[in-house]
């Protein structure tokens, strides 16, 4: 069977999306740095209305407009892992497994970025890179869970069963996502309380809220773009694995053909 060609060029949709995301990001950065007023309080008081601990201009607030959308996209990514995992267990169709795997990779990346940006925001503000409060701990746990998911997939000896077990991990792991989010609402932590998706409604003034929502939209677009690329890679990997399995059943062709070393390197999903 001739192995199928995977498309070499990105479709127009992908290119359009790339342009939109890039433009959106540019507009967002302009809004963050020039539209949203810079606060004059680096370390706010313990509660709204309390005096400022450190009344200096607050430039690191600009990290906030990246940190929050990145966190939301991580939630979204792991939600997609949940959907893909459940669908894969029900239908055994590999496309759902590919979806879950792709989204888990991107989710891990975004969770890592969320942790890093959070640390860089926290250090000038609170004097420490890290603390073991509920939010940071549970977010780190989320990171560990899905890193475990990815490692497990690499180690599974039986591909079919490995995918099924990974789906279960993907489903169970998602339980941490609402915990992470509501830890910002339920407990008094060093991490600031959740101000956008809050049961009491968004707690931000207009220009900040609009900018934040814009950045959430931009990052969601970026997520979709990354998913398109990553699932394309997944399809190519599966096609390659199938093609190599089929090739092994055929007798070797005549002539000085050697199996290139790229066989092992190419198959790592």
């Amino acid at each position: 069977m001739t192995p199928p060609t995977t498309a070499r060029r990105s479709g127009t949709g992908t290119i359009l999306l790339t342009i939109l995301v890039a433009l959106g990001m540019a507009v967002g950065i302009v809004a963050i740095f020039f539209w949203v007023p810079t606060a004059n309080c680096l370390v706010p008081g313990a509660a709204p209305g309390q005096p400022c601990f450190d009344a200096r201009p607050d430039y690191i607030q600009h990290i906030f407009y990246m940190h929050v959308p990145i966190a939301y996209v991580a939630y979204l990514a792991f939600g997609v892992v949940l959907v893909g995992s459940v669908a894969y267990l029900k239908t055994s169709k590999r496309r759902w497994d590919r979806l879950a795997h792709a989204s888990a990779e991107i989710g891990v990346l975004f969770t890592g970025l969320c942790l890093v940006t959070g640390m860089l925001w926290g250090r000038p503000r609170w004097g420490t890179f890290w603390t073991w409060d509920e939010t940071l701990t549970l977010t780190f746990v989320l990171f560990l869970i899905y890193v475990g998911y990815l490692l497990f997939r690499g180690m599974a000896s039986d591909a079919e069963r490995g995918a099924r077990v990974a789906a279960v991990i993907g489903i169970v792991g998602f339980a941490d996502v609402p915990l992470v989010h509501f830890s910002m609402v339920w407990w008094r932590t060093l991490h600031p309380a959740e101000v956008v998706i809050n049961p009491a409604g968004p707690q931000l003034p207009t220009s900040e809220l609009v900018t934040m929502l814009w950045m959430v939209a931009v990052y969601t677009g970026l997520y979709i773009l990354m998913m398109l690329l990553r699932t394309r890679l997944g399809r190519a990997h599966d096609a390659l694995a199938d093609a190599e399995a089929a090739a092994e059943d055929r007798p070797a062709p005549p002539g000085p053909v050697g199996r290139s070393g790229a066989v092992q390197a190419g198959v790592q999903p």
Binding site: T2, P3, P4, T5, T6, R8, L42, R56, P57, D58, Y59, I60, H62, I63, M66, I70, I106, L109, G112, L113, V116, T117, L120, W121, R123, P124, L222, M226, L229, R230, R232, L233, A236, H237, A239, L240, A243, E244, A247, R250, P253, G255, V257, S260, A262, V263, A265, G266
Partner: protein, 49 residues
């Protein structure tokens, strides 16, 4: 105050580096896989002839 900009700069750089690096990494693996698929197709064609 200036060191705030340092943190800001590192944060934004980390974001672009992370996302950009991942996209480049994806691109490289995609090309490697596509290349390998091409090789198999050509071997398949040669085999048929």
């Amino acid at each position: 105050m200036k060191h705030q900009f340092a943190y800001l700069g590192v944060a934004y750089t980390a974001i672009w580096a992370g996302i950009g690096g991942y996209l480049l990494f994806l691109g490289r693996r995609q090309r490697a896989t596509d290349r390998r698929l091409e090789e198999l197709r050509e071997r398949d064609q040669a085999h048929r002839e």
